[in-house]
Amino acid sequence: MAEAGSKSLEPGRDRRSERAAARRARALRGGAVAAVSSVVFLGGIAALILTSPGWPLVRDSFFDAEVFADSFPGIAKAFWLDVRVFLIVEVVVLVLGLIVALLRTVRAPALFPLRLLATVYVDVFRGIPVVLLVYMVGFGVPALALGETADGSRPLSWLPTEPVVLGGIALALSYGAYVAEVYRAGLNSVHRGQRDAALALGLTEAQALRHVIIPQAVRRVGPPLLNDFIALQKDVALIAIIGVTGEAFREAQIESSRIFDYTPLVAAALLYLLVTIPLARLLDRWERGRARN
């Protein structure tokens, strides 16, 4: 059935491997074009920056190799504190967020006051900028702890006053609110039929939540949660303002103002990127995996 314009099949000619070879050649061409255009484009931008008159100044102030080498070890060591803080805060946030989301979704009348509290919590703590919250908790709570009654006793002296703890609490309160809304969207996105089916099998509301709804909701909200996690990592730097010692951003700031050079801040930024970029790639992979399903 040779149509006009097509070659007739010669014996021994393998169409399949020809097609495969053509595909490879196309991909290679495409890859070459991508590589060349990347180098040209990015190289062009780089060249523009590097040859601009202000560049030497910027380079000395932000990208000084010697300063980088000097300050990096100290900042890297302090970064370990950031890592620990965001791991702990993230766990708290995941739990707190789920509790708040559930309080807002479940309809039992007995829980109404808690539900109201949960709504107020979310509105307030999503509305206040994190830096303000760190400030307020970091300086407000110790003030409360100090409050003395007429006879000199301090009823609230049990409140934590360690800046790391207070900073962590502020971060947890703020991100807990965001994460609660992510969970809530996830819970609401689970089809109503799932709840119906669970109830029809004779499960209680609580069992339906636990075995059917929450597992599905949590699977769906994985990517947005990871997104919030990445944001949290960066906001950990904010605890520096309430006097946390040995924290990467703070160390970078101290060094930077000591020598009037911003390179230590670039070093700290690099450390943050070292953690957030792999997480972002992981997030991409996760989302691609879900899209395929």
Partner: protein
């Protein structure tokens, strides 16, 4: 096992409205042990709503529903224990996507009925095999065809040995060539004597499986009687009109 004569399910004057829309306007119905009752009627006539009301997924506005002679629509009654004695199969199957086929069937047995894991598994596997799904226990629901998924749903609802099985348009979402396998499963249950109420569009299904057919029109059961009679020689004009329309659409 209900004493002879007393219906498994009884509905008296059941009324349900959604806001302004009155969907059920006084339903009276009796379903006896081993009986299969088919509910037919136009879309929106209230068939689904009726089944959901029986399973206490919706709250009725007026009337009563009795299961084995006990009223179940009273606010003081524990809805969970009532639902444990009933089974509902949905048009959209509503399988749990995060659980595999076996776990879908196990969930009701283990969590809903507190059955031991080993015994539950035995029963689940047996049922799945019976409905032609042996070997698929470890699969995720989305790997199954619609007909297979619905069979899992039936197995899941039936595993708990409900007093009555409610089937809500279980073939309506299926491609025609898959309807047969589900029909077979229901036929199978009928042979075993399971008490059933099925809402359906498929008249052939009704004809085959049902002992009685009830025609729902504008929220009321307008005509009811033996399947063969209602489907071939309906008395009421509304029923006639409905069946004629179905015939024209090629579905009778």
């Amino acid at each position: 096992m209900s004493p002879a004569g007393r219906p498994v399910l009884e509905l008296r004057g059941v009324t349900k409205a959604f806001g302004e829309l009155e969907v059920l306007r006084g339903i009276d119905l009796e379903v006896h042990e081993h009986e299969a009752v088919a509910l037919i009627g136009a879309s929106g006539s209230g068939k689904s709503t009726l089944l959901r009301c029986i399973d206490l997924l919706e709250e009725i506005d007026d009337g009563d529903i009795f299961l084995d002679g006990e009223v179940i629509t009273d606010p003081s009654v524990d809805a969970v224990s009532v639902r444990r004695r009933l089974g509902l199969v949905f048009q959209a199957y509503n399988l749990f996507p995060h659980l595999n086929v076996l776990d879908n069937v196990l969930l009701g047995l283990v969590q809903g009925h507190g059955m031991g894991r080993a015994e539950a598994e035995r029963r689940a596997r047996e049922l799945l095999a019976r409905f032609g799904l042996a070997g698929r226990e470890g699969d995720d629901p989305d790997r199954l065809s619609g007909g297979q998924q619905q069979r899992v749903a039936i197995a899941r609802a039936f595993a708990t040995r409900p007093r009555a099985l409610l089937l809500d348009e279980v073939t309506s979402a299926l491609d025609p060539e898959l309807v047969g396998e589900v029909l077979q499963a229901v036929r199978d249950l009928k042979v075993e004597g399971v008490t059933m109420v099925l809402a359906t569009h498929e008249m052939s299904f009704a004809r085959e499986v049902a002992d009685r057919v009830c025609f729902l029109h504008e929220g009321r059961i307008v005509e009811s009687g033996p399947a063969e009679k209602i489907l071939s020689a309906p008395e009421r004009p509304e029923t006639q009109r409905f069946l004629r329309r179905l015939l024209e659409a090629g579905r009778a």
